[in-house]
């Protein structure tokens, strides 16, 4: 584990110095247009966020975030190529220019934002770390987990959060580290550990994978903040703005009641907010270097934020996640986007 961390640190240091010296000037949009598609980094398979389906098409909320950017640039949500990346190589792939944006279940932290030569363009899912425990150990609260054996996935912020939490509470734990979430749940199912820790968005799905889901339960505690969102290279502010405002457009569309189904009708709306959002009024697109109707294309082809959420992780999907704090600010959540004007 320590070795992994020092490798990661080394990579980060090298990466930091390298990208600091070579700023990719405002050319990402031009490159993308020239290529004819957006290259987007995703996971190698994480339910609800990015996972290939039967046909080998990628699905998930992170995938849709990429598709929305493609829709804004090309008016075609299919103009995206996906690069599956592991947790360890994701930042290098972005720094080296192998991908144009990273939408890979990545937590926004100070270190990553400030020292890796990257910019976080927003949050498309507010997550937090929780615990799945074997009911047999008779624990109802995370504070009772002193001395527990815990299964974790390597190379994620989960490891750090966990040791922070246990140190703060003066408790001890024995970590068992796995490489993928699939292996982690197998380890838990095989009884290698009493507790499995992961982002809460994954716990329900992982629990449903157990042969007897009733033998395990999710503890109520959330021990960390995990704002997940798309990431771009530092030094290209135009591209940064595009990715940021495409996401904001989706959130604003939900707030204004514009959906993929009614996007065409809404073009005739006399609400100035909707007019600016869909590009029938003002020159919002031009300011970003995008077509005037980019907002209309994003909402029509990919949907607003709520649609994107429901389609991939919402209550009707196997992940069955309530909106919770991911609801709009007007509905008790913290999803809030600055206004389009």
């Amino acid at each position: 584990m320590r070795k992994m961390r020092s490798i990661a640190l080394g990579v980060a240091l090298v990466a930091g110095t390298f990208t600091a010296s070579s700023v990719m000037a405002a050319t990402t949009l031009k490159n993308v247009k020239q290529k004819g598609h957006l290259q987007c980094g995703v996971t190698t398979g994480l339910p609800g966020f990015s996972q290939p389906d039967e046909k080998g098409n990628w699905t998930g909320i992170d995938v849709d975030t990429c598709r929305a950017v493609a829709a804004a640039i090309f008016g075609d949500a299919g103009a995206v190529e996906f690069t599956p990346l592991t947790a360890k190589e994701r930042f290098t792939a972005l720094q080296s220019g192998e991908i144009d944006m990273l939408s890979r279940n990545t937590t926004w932290t100070l270190t990553r934002d400030a020292s890796l030569g990257l910019n976080f363009a927003g949050v498309n899912y507010y997550d937090g770390q929780g615990f799945l425990i074997n009911k047999g150990i008779g624990v109802d609260d995370a504070t009772q987990l002193d001395g527990a054996t815990i299964c974790i996935q390597a190379g994620t912020t989960t490891e750090l959060n966990l040791s922070d939490y246990f140190r703060a509470k003066g408790m001890k734990f024995k970590p068992i580290v796995f490489d993928t979430s699939e292996q982690t749940v197998q380890g838990f199912a095989a009884g290698r550990c009493d507790v499995l820790t992961s982002d809460r968005s994954q716990l329900a799905a992982l629990r449903s994978k157990l042969s007897d889901p009733n033998s395990a339960k999710i503890l109520p505690n959330t021990i960390s903040k995990e704002p997940l969102g798309p990431v771009v290279r530092q030094g290209d502010d135009q591209w940064f703005n595009i990715v940021k405002w495409v996401l904001f457009t989706q959130i604003n569309a939900e707030e204004l009641g514009v959906t993929s189904a009614n996007a065409d009708d809404m073009l005739k709306s006399d609400n100035p907010g909707i007019q600016r959002l869909l590009g029938t009024d003002g020159d919002m697109g031009a300011k970003l270097g995008l077509p005037a109707d980019f907002g209309h294309k994003v909402v029509k082809l990919v949907g607003n934020y709520g649609e994107m959420y429901d389609r991939n992780v919402g209550p009707d999907t196997p992940l069955a996640l309530d909106r919770g704090i991911n609801a709009l600010w007007t509905e008790g959540g913290i999803m809030y986007a600055p206004p389009v004007r």
Partner: protein
Amino acid sequence: MTEPTMKAPRKAVRPVKWMRENLFSGWFNTVLTLGVAYLLVTSVGPLLNWFFLDANFVGSDPSACTGAGACWVFINQRLNFFIYGFYPDELQWRVNVMFLLLAVAFVPQFIERFPGRKWLGIFGIFGLPVVGYFLIPGGSFGLEAVESSKWGGLMLTLVLAYIGIIASLPIGILLALGRRSEMPIIRGISVVFIEVWRAVPLITVLFMASVMLPLFLPEGVNIEKLARALIGITLWQSAYMAEVVRGGLQAIPRGQYEAASALGLGYWRRMGLVILPQALKMVIPGIVNTFIALFKDTTLVLIIGLLDVLGTVQSTVSDPTWQNVATEGYVFVAFCFWVFCFGISRYSQKLERKLDTGHKT
């Protein structure tokens, strides 16, 4: 050796006698036999049930899997993805052509009297990579380009293993010759190359190729991830191959080298006509062992986000719409690997028998 040697007379073998002699020849063997028989009886039944009798074969969605046995519906549904990865549907015929050519080139090698099988084999080794180079990525001869990021599944496994095998053998032979060369610079380079590459685990090579290398390349230069992995695998494999071949070279008696020199042959002809044919024949088991190891090692590309056959399975078994299909997925992967590795192994045994000129006594 003037008298004709005769085989020992065959003992009359009757089942009861055979069993008494081989299975129940003492209390210890009797206990072992009964123990193993008990294990077989108790495990074969449930395994058969799981694999076939209780298994679900037909259907198109998770609800079809009702039995207690395996859910092969899952494999069936995802088979396309497991074999072709993200390769576009309408272009998969190109991959199929390659599969077909692979079969045409190598299946006849198992049939002794197949006409022209030597030429098919030569095509398999030299022609197939060339055809594949144009056919699979496309982009020339009016074929639509398919980026390597879309390759995946069994097809990617075969690409990695095939190129790794085909490229590492000649490089390995050169390195082995280099290491035994009398020219100090060549010998030095070969020794350093072999010892450096052999001393690092493949996982490190792949990790360096995927994570570190792009950072050292000048801006705008972007070697594809697959190409980086392939170069890493080939170089790493060559170092192993070199040592296997060197083992063969060392086993050739000094007299052979001297005899070849006495015929007035130059270095390359001496090696190519006299030494290498004998040396390589001797180390076939070692070479094939390395091939099989490489074939299985290709799964490590998983850690750099290339979805080979194991990777495609792993990325889909976590799909929450399917319950507990991980076992089926991994059994499928194991089966794929077994088929290919067993094939390679059988072929090598055939080759050994055919090339046996009494050197094995």
